[in-house]
Symmetry: C2
Subunit: 318 residues, 2 copies
């Protein structure tokens, strides 16, 4: 099995690759815009930009045919909102270039790659019901969500045509992310746990009653891998696009801070500083916080049970 | 007032331009891939391909700033399905190029153009409810519908950013179209009236119980013009994308043939030949036939009352 991972240098990409190395004997082609090194010889890393179709074609020409692809590469929500052109180049054209490369592979007699694409709950916005269902119309109110949604439908069309077998899933906010704060508008949802547990101050840009739809890193990786185990007919059910809303946990910032207190004690909690940011607050407020993800549950996807347990798992790895 | 019309050589573009000339004193820039001539000096026509961004920029540099734009240009559904690359180039990249050109205009101190985009009921497909509402999720099962839907969201994002003021409306199948049969999968919905009324045979590729959601050409032009009269806040209501489902008439092929009989007599009816085409039948069957277009009705859009009246109007212009 030869697997392609884009955005391989992101924390999810790294966790995915570590898991694939541990649990499969696959060889992996890892793409990212920054140089990467992996301990295993089963991983070959390439540095480049997915929006550069020629680079992508030349790179894939050097490796084995792609049987499975995890397309994780993206410019995060804050960056896509700040730089309109960058967002479309990375998040839409990058996706199209991956699809085109895999289409050429199957057109020239190679395998029809099975691909999973990480869409996002940021495709939802506007006037939302209290609980988002599989029948809720997506109306993203940020460029990142628009780019993710457009990519979902594009993948659906390439799949209907038989060029690839693409599956798009809408990830909840993944928390607790390791590493550093990033430009994702949801960065606080990891930061208010991660930084205080390491003795650092974390600024909270939203109010404490703000709720977030959360999935742990381990559950996110499990969901992505589960996606590629499903038979074509089971996943698509004869209808191509839009994406599956993944299950998650609806957690308020207050509840997250309760978990922080429980795991890290009052000295950790004291490191969270309320620094309201209207720009972040406004966009995060357009994201839904509670779902009834019936299609995903029927397909066998599972959420985490408890945010405190997620925090404990994170703390144990520090 | 200076108005841009793309797809100006299509029947809807021509009818729109004739109406604008008769009812306004606007000057019009008319774009199409084929050479056009208009009787009025108020229309300047240019020949070129919207997917050629450089041509588009050079063309718009020659004319007055665009205050209103009717973006009608598209490769029709049958062609988009037959030629995947052409469909995306024309229907997605063409739209993006128009948006980029208008963005550059506003960025350089020109007006924020008010734009109407003709999306389509072909954005719907898959497992549809009997009556499609404004809350029905779009799941196009054809490339044309995917390209229209992606364009809707793209226009919404450019509008949210303030680059243009774009409004997307989903047109029902426009019937009775004058002219010749085309590669639209819905071409029969005009052909079975138009050809027999002119003594010609028309082939019916679908069964007679097939229903179609129909709008007359005059009502389609009225709807497009109405779209640009609405205030920004009224049309968008603070939420950008997706498009408005326009009102129409749900008419079965049998009912259409009853109207043909009434207007054209039995000799006209006898010219309709059933020639089932599984490819057309399969895709047309994915399109919805009945809507509850509440948002559109609240915005003041109106459907036709009666298909026989549409046929009479068409016949009177022959």
């Amino acid at each position: 099995m030869h697997i392609l991972v884009t955005g391989a240098g992101g924390f999810l990409g790294r966790l995915l690759i570590d898991t694939l190395l541990a649990q499969t004997d696959a060889t992996i082609t890892a793409l990212d815009v920054v140089p990467l090194s992996f301990a295993s010889e089963r991983v070959t890393a390439f540095v480049g930009d997915l929006s550069d179709a020629a680079w992508l074609a030349a790179t894939l020409a050097q490796v084995a045919p792609v049987e499975q692809a995890y397309h994780l590469a993206a410019v995060v929500s804050g960056s896509a909102e700040a730089d309109f052109d960058l967002g479309y180049r990375a998040n839409l054209e990058g996706t199209r270039n991956i699809l085109e490369a895999l289409r050429r592979q199957s057109a020239s007699g190679g395998p029809v790659a099975r691909l999973v694409f990480t869409s996002s709950v940021a495709v939802f916005g506007g006037n939302l019901p209290e609980v988002v269902t599989d029948g809720t119309v997506a109306a993203p109110q940020g460029s990142y969500g628009v780019q993710k949604l457009m990519s979902e439908y594009l993948i659906g069309d390439y799949t209907r045509k038989g060029y690839v077998d693409g599956r798009a899933v809408r990830l909840p906010t993944v928390s607790v992310r390791p590493g550093k704060p990033n430009a994702a508008l949801s960065s606080f949802a990891s930061g208010i746990i991660r930084e205080p547990l390491q003795g650092k101050v974390s600024e909270l840009p939203v109010t404490r009653d703000t709720a977030v739809w959360i999935l742990s890193p381990d559950s996110a990786v499990a969901a992505l891998r589960h996606t590629l185990t499903l038979d074509h007919e089971v996943f698509h059910g004869g209808v191509y696009g839009p994406a599956v809303n993944l299950p998650g946990l609806c957690v308020s910032v207050s509840q997250m801070l309760d978990s922080l207190l429980e795991v890290g004690g009052p000295e950790a909690l004291a490191l969270v500083k309320d620094v309201p940011d209207p720009r972040v607050t406004k966009l995060v407020a357009t994201w839904p916080t509670k779902f009834a993800p019936e299609r995903a549950l029927a397909l066998g996807y599972r959420a985490d049970n408890d945010f405190t347990q997620i925090v404990r798992t994170f703390a144990a790895r520090l």
